[in-house]
């Protein structure tokens, strides 16, 4: 009886917990998730000089972000992420209250309100031809009491009103092949000079009346030597340029509209020739800088075309633009590297030898070189001028230097993550916690006090007696007090390291508990060097994951990069320890890297074998050890791979052939041969997406029991490839073709034999296609031109050759083929089921949850166009959904068919936050089967834990252990009391 009632109780409890609730309560925010905001590498910074905005700096970045930062702490006041195509060309502050931005190649001009970042106006500028775009906010230039902004873009000069963005006048420069270099405002008059080059050897100068756009003067002069790249503005009527060989300095003056050239060969200034020079663009009056190889020279213009070298240094040097301080005086900042320190010097433009400020600051070597310097002044307490500089480092971080110290720093390299992988934390060792025991009695008492206080607070909270301050204190205790940011492995596998490779070539290790940076390392192999001119980081792979040696060996990751954008340039490998962040070694390869294939084999030290395919279709085995080659020889004939040639429309399958037959004997190099090919007709199909299953995905069961006690066997193959092609015409933007001209064809291909297992055409549909492949299903997202809506389709693939294994007796007697090996060479008997649904959003990324054993049901994680991540149950994308499911089907969990997928507001895993500029979502299984870790990255980072079927295998964090304990104690007490009472009663009975 007792058992039965207990069972009923349990059942009832279980039923009550079945409601899938994804949302969380207010006080749970931040317990398992963290969100970090970044802006990216700063391109330009404008300090605000007005009183109210003095604490702020406005920056534009290479991630197309415009942001206003707090100068005291480096926090973001406001921020706008423009689209990936909306590249910012220039920013400035106008009227003391607007931030003006020019973006999209000079076609969009916007004004933002400085205090709160609201957009005030936006205007679109057009012009006859493509050109460099320049923004100039002139001081004291007014047209009919209206401040103006001058914009040169698309071969046209526009004067735009500051107050409403209206174009006041415009002047075309279409007739000439003008390459504009500078737009210069004359300090004393309403004149504007436009200088540039035409036909590579012609210098052009236009003088324009800024009040009405009238062309006052046009002069041009030819220089036979041609011009090279940038120019440096040394006064409002003089610029310095280099000839095309980079060996002659040209001082071009256009005073009063008269152009005069002064040529001075660089060899006249310095004795030894050091190769071609480049001008470092700056705008300091009277001084410019050139760089020849590693040597930087500062040259002063003496007037009448005389030049004088004032300093020559072989330290890495960066220089800021000029900052006008008092009447006619300009200051500029100079930063030089010297070992582990940087020297900051602030000088007056006309006085090279005197320093306004000289400080040296210790700099972390992992930040690399200083790339950009922005100077700002302030008035000290003693009424003298003080200077602070904002510097952008090689790793894209942003630092503020003031009074010889780093006031704050921002790790903005994390805004441009290329690839992410995870690593386990060290196992907790016994010896580790020794240091912690040495607390004295006082500290113990203090801890005890805190402990008691905390418990009092918690008790208050439970009894709903807490005041708002108390609640805040409880919340902060919950956030801090939990063990989530410990540096050791936990039982549930929630604590891990996220290893992220950024565009700057820096590797970061982030703790999943609270997102703090455990270590960061600027990869030496990704540093610019003689051998490797433009290193580009490509991917991260897990190189060594010790399980057997977890106590004494550290895991490491492989960073694959290459030396330039072309495909046949040599590659670089580096190996980094994930506990310490040390670079264990790096290899500059003789061959290129087109494809990296992690093989499913490890050697005795648990290093994973990797096969690298180069541009000549040779395969190279790493690590280069005899042991690796032994293992590899064993599996030689079982290694197949494929390559997708997007631009060519060909998919090929490859296999290894023999050792390389090159002139140099290399036993780790192998020839390959082509096994199969699929050629898409170029006139009707173009590859736009190809997706495979994650190689480490775990599938729990190969069968699926459907409603009528029937079994379907999933076709689970690691070698399935999903490919989507569209009509070449329809590869552009949505709406550029009619539905009749566009189609989308999707394929499921076996990558060992090149067999097309499934092929289906969606007429009237077009890309972009986002797809995710998991187990035996693929979900893809595309646009349906006929329905004018986005659609998501699902294809599930089932194995028919095993379908007759339904007889129990067969299974009992072992007469089934479930354990027989599967070969790709067998004729596959598959059936597919598919269904399409409408979906409201367009996508930026799509992923699927993955758990340790694959038992938990799956959720799709959809990165929406609004930069949020939406969790959608896979059950909604079941091809077997029907309009009226039978009772049995309902029990199985089939949802009645609808034409569109629901978007439930509570199922946004990012809650109300946004992951600006979302680029990718990755999921990592935790050790706890019910839970998966989700990391979304873009300009921002977001991390959370998800339990798609709720945490059925553990108690939740907010489970009240105290209540449980109290209940048990109360029960035990009650048992004792009743026992005593009954004893007494019995005794009394007996004494009667």
């Amino acid at each position: 009886m007792a058992i039965r009632s207990f069972l009923i109780l349990f059942l009832l409890f279980f039923l009550s917990s079945l409601h899938p609730i994804l949302s969380l309560y207010e006080d749970q925010v931040g317990l398992m998730d963290w969100h970090e905001q970044y802006i990216g590498k700063v391109k330009q910074a404008v300090f605000h000089t007005h009183k109210t905005g003095r604490k702020r700096v406005v920056v534009s970045t290479e991630e197309n972000v415009i942001a206003s930062l707090d100068l005291r702490h480096g926090e973001i006041f406001w921020r706008h992420v423009l689209g990936p195509t909306d590249v910012i060309d220039g920013i400035d502050v106008a009227l003391g209250k607007y931030v003006i931005t020019l973006s999209s190649g000079g076609s969009v001009l916007r004004a933002w309100n400085l205090p709160d970042g609201q957009m005030v106006w936006e205007s679109t500028l057009q012009g006859p031809k493509h050109s460099k775009s320049l923004l100039l906010v002139p001081t004291n230039l007014k047209i009919e009491k209206d401040n103006v902004v001058l914009v040169f873009s698309y071969g046209r000069l526009n004067a735009v009103s500051c107050t409403d963005g209206e174009v006041l006048w415009k002047k075309d420069f279409e007739a000439e092949s003008l390459e504009v270099q500078q737009v210069i405002q004359c300090p004393s008059s309403d004149l504007v000079y436009i200088v540039g080059f035409a036909a590579s050897s012609q210098f052009e100068m236009y003088q324009i009346d800024a009040s009405n756009g009238e062309l006052l003067k046009h002069e041009s002069a030819a220089f036979s030597g041609g011009f090279l790249g940038e120019v440096s503005l040394v006064s409002s009527e003089t610029i310095v340029a280099l000839d095309s060989t980079g060996s002659i300095l040209l001082t071009i003056s256009f005073r009063n509209g008269k152009i005069s050239f002064q040529q001075i060969p660089i060899s006249n200034l310095v004795e030894d020739s050091l190769g071609p020079a480049v001008i470092i663009p700056s705008s300091v009056t009277g001084i410019f800088a050139i760089k020849m190889n590693a040597i930087t020279m500062f040259i002063r213009v003496m007037g009448e075309g005389k030049l004088e070298v004032v300093e020559k240094t072989n330290h890495e040097t960066s220089v800021s633009d000029a900052l006008p301080i008092s009447e006619g005086q300009q200051a500029f900042a100079l930063i030089q590297h010297a070992g582990s320190e940087i020297h900051l010097t602030v000088k007056l433009a006309h006085d090279w030898d005197g320093n306004l400020l000289k400080e040296s600051i210790k700099m972390d070597q992992q930040r690399g070189l200083v790339h950009r310097v922005f100077i700002n002044n302030y008035i000290r307490t003693d009424r003298s001028y003080g200077f602070r500089v904002l510097i952008v480092m090689e790793d894209h971080s942003l630092l503020l230097l003031q009074q010889g110290a780093i006031v704050w720093s921002r790790e903005d390299g994390l805004a441009s993550i290329i690839d992410v992988t995870t690593s386990e934390l060290p196992v907790e060792k016994d010896g580790v916690s020794v240091a912690k025991v040495e607390h004295n009695l006082f500290e113990w008492l203090k801890m005890l006090f805190f402990f008691l206080e905390g418990h009092m607070l918690k008790l208050k909270g439970t009894l709903m007696l807490a005041s708002p301050e108390d609640i805040a204190a409880i919340q902060s205790m919950r956030l801090k007090g939990s063990e989530k940011s410990k540096m050791t492995r936990d039982h549930n596998g929630f604590r891990k390291l996220l290893i992220a490779l950024t565009k700057a070539g820096k590797l970061f290790a982030l703790h999943t508990g609270d997102g703090h940076i455990v270590w960061s390392h600027l990869l030496q192999s990704l540093h610019k060097s003689e051998a490797c001119q433009h290193p580009i980081g490509l991917n991260l792979y897990q190189w060594q994951v010790p399980h057997h040696h977890a106590m004494d060996e550290n895991p490491s990751v492989l960073v694959v990069s290459k030396c330039g954008p072309s495909s046949d340039i040599s590659g670089v490998l580096s190996f980094v320890d994930t506990y310490t962040g040390k670079e264990l070694g790096s290899l500059t390869l003789v061959h290129s890297i087109v494809q990296v294939i992690p093989l499913p084999y490890t050697d005795s030290t648990e290093q994973r074998l990797h096969l690298l395919i180069d541009a000549d279709k040779h395969a190279h085995l790493y690590p280069k050890t005899p042991e690796a080659i032994d293992i590899f020889q064993h599996e030689f004939s079982n290694i197949y791979w494929y390559s997708v040639e997007d631009d060519n429309g060909i998919i090929k399958g490859h296999v290894l052939k023999s050792k390389c037959t090159g002139e140099v004997a290399d036993e780790f190099c192998f020839d390959t041969r082509e096994l199969w090919s699929i050629v898409f007709p170029s006139e009707s199909e173009m590859i736009i997406a190809s997706v495979t299953r994650k190689s480490n995905e775990v599938v729990h069961t190969q069968s699926k029991v459907i409603a009528d006690q029937d079994v379907m066997y999933k076709y689970i193959s690691r070698n399935l490839l999903f490919v989507a092609t569209v009509a070449p015409k329809a590869s552009g933007k949505i709406g550029c073709v009619t539905p009749e001209e566009s189609w989308l064809v999707v394929y499921l291909i076996d990558t060992v034999t090149g067999r097309i297992l499934h092929r289906v055409t969606h007429h009237g549909s077009q890309g972009p296609v986002h797809a995710v492949f998991s187990e035996n299903w693929v979900v893809y997202h595309y646009f349906n031109l006929r329905a004018h809506r986005y659609e998501m389709s699902v294809i599930e693939i089932y194995d028919q050759s095993r379908a007759d294994n339904k007889d129990v007796w067969k299974l009992v007697l072992g007469k089934h083929n479930l354990t027989s090996p599967i070969s790709s060479y067998s004729q596959p008997e598959v059936i597919t089921k598919s269904q399409s649904y409408f979906f409201t959003h367009s996508l930026k990324a799509i992923a699927v949850t993955s758990t340790a054993k694959g038992i938990t049901s799956k959720q799709l994680l959809i990165g929406t166009v609004g930069d949020q991540v939406l969790a959608l149950d896979k059950r909604f994308l079941d091809p077997r959904r029907s309009v009226n499911p039978t009772q049995a089907e309902k029990e199985e969990g089939i949802i009645p068919l609808t034409d569109s997928l629901p978007i439930i507001p509570q199922s946004y895993v990012t809650h109300s936050l946004k992951v600006e500029g979302l680029r990718g979502v990755i999921t990592v299984p935790a050790k706890l089967e019910s839970t998966t870790l989700v990391f979304a990255y873009g300009v921002d980072l977001f991390f959370t834990q998800l339990a798609p079927s709720r945490t059925y295998d553990s108690l939740t964090e907010d489970f009240s252990y105290a209540l449980l304990l109290i209940t048990i104690v109360a029960l035990v007490a009650a048992i004792f009391v009743t026992w005593i009472l009954s004893e007494k009663k019995e005794l009394q009975e007996k004494w009667r």
């Binding site: 004939s637 699929i678 092929r759 090996p821 004729q827």
Partner: protein, 300 residues
């Protein structure tokens, strides 16, 4: 109605006549949807292609449309290679090229004639079998202007082919007159420990299938009222009484227990009262009865 019956009868008769003429060394296996050039003809839009599908014997239909569509015969060759050797001709595919009135072109009636192995080729094939190497074939990617952009290559482990003779199975994926891919292999299974087995007969039995792309199912479109009903139904998943239980079980069970307890109490009460009242009335006698034996024992 009559005409249809007549046509069906005609089709049947014609098919009976046509079948014997197919019995060559190569089998023809025409896949049903090859008659409908869905790919090459994007303007051909049939929302329901299934009812119009018919077995491969569609000669009459074609004859009816012969004024619109024209046929022509084409041939393209199959090349093969043993391991890494160069490709050499191995057979010829012949087919009818059907040009639709709207400009699309499709292949129908694919036939294949395989050249039998020469002695040299037999030796090469035996070597392949011994070394468990690949037997490779290739087709042009465009049947009208071979080889088109590139050759379509497919390979199979040679040990998969021998059964009685040499069994092979081609699935040719077409897109108008372009060959996308060819799936080549044995018709049955070929699981991993592949044993060396020489064929008894050196003749190929070939099966060929032509495949064109299928249409994807459309997303279901509901009328508004159905949609409303559907979503309403979708939300109320559980019957109300169950959710009542699910909500209030923690109150109901103690309540039930209390009630049960109360009932047992109530049932015990009268008894106890009855038993309790009796001794109350005759207390001394009962006490004497009870004490009697114990005292007797003690005394002993």
């Amino acid at each position: 109605m009559k005409t249809i019956q007549v046509i069906v009868a005609f089709i049947l008769a014609l098919s009976l006549l046509l079948f014997p003429s197919f019995g060559f060394q190569s089998d023809e296996l025409l896949v049903d949807d090859e008659e409908f050039g869905l790919e090459g003809a994007p303007q051909y839009r049939s929302p329901e292609p299934i009812p119009t599908r018919s077995p491969p014997l569609t000669t009459p239909t074609r004859k009816r449309h012969s004024d619109l569509d024209s046929d022509s015969k084409i041939q393209f060759s199959l090349d093969h290679a043993f391991g890494d050797s160069d490709f050499s001709p191995a057979g010829t595919f012949s087919a009818r090229l059907k040009t639709w009135s709207h400009g699309g072109q499709t292949l129908t009636k694919l036939r294949f004639s395989r050249n039998s192995f020469t002695d040299e080729e037999k030796e090469k094939f035996k070597n392949l079998l011994k070394s468990d190497d690949f037997y490779r074939i290739r087709l042009p990617s465009n049947v009208l202007s071979p080889p088109g952009r590139d050759f379509i290559i497919s390979s199979v482990k040679a040990r998969c082919l021998p059964r009685e003779g040499l069994d092979e199975h081609f699935v040719i994926h077409m897109e108008g007159v372009n060959v996308l891919a060819v799936n080549y292999g044995s018709p049955g299974s070929c699981s991993y420990p592949r044993n060396l087995k020489l064929p008894t007969k050196w003749s190929f039995s070939s099966h060929t299938v032509l495949k064109n792309s299928e249409q994807a199912p459309r997303a279901p479109i509901f009328a508004e009222e159905i949609l409303g009903g559907e979503s309403g139904e979708g939300e109320v998943v559980q019957p109300p009484e169950r959710s009542f239980w699910a909500k209030y079980w923690m109150y109901l069970i103690p309540l039930g227990l209390i009630v049960m307890n109360a009932i047992t109490q109530a049932m015990n009460m009268p008894e106890e009262q009855a038993t309790g009242q009796v001794p109350a009335q005759g207390q001394p006698s009962a006490g004497a009865v009870q004490r009697g034996p114990t005292s007797a024992v003690r005394r002993r």
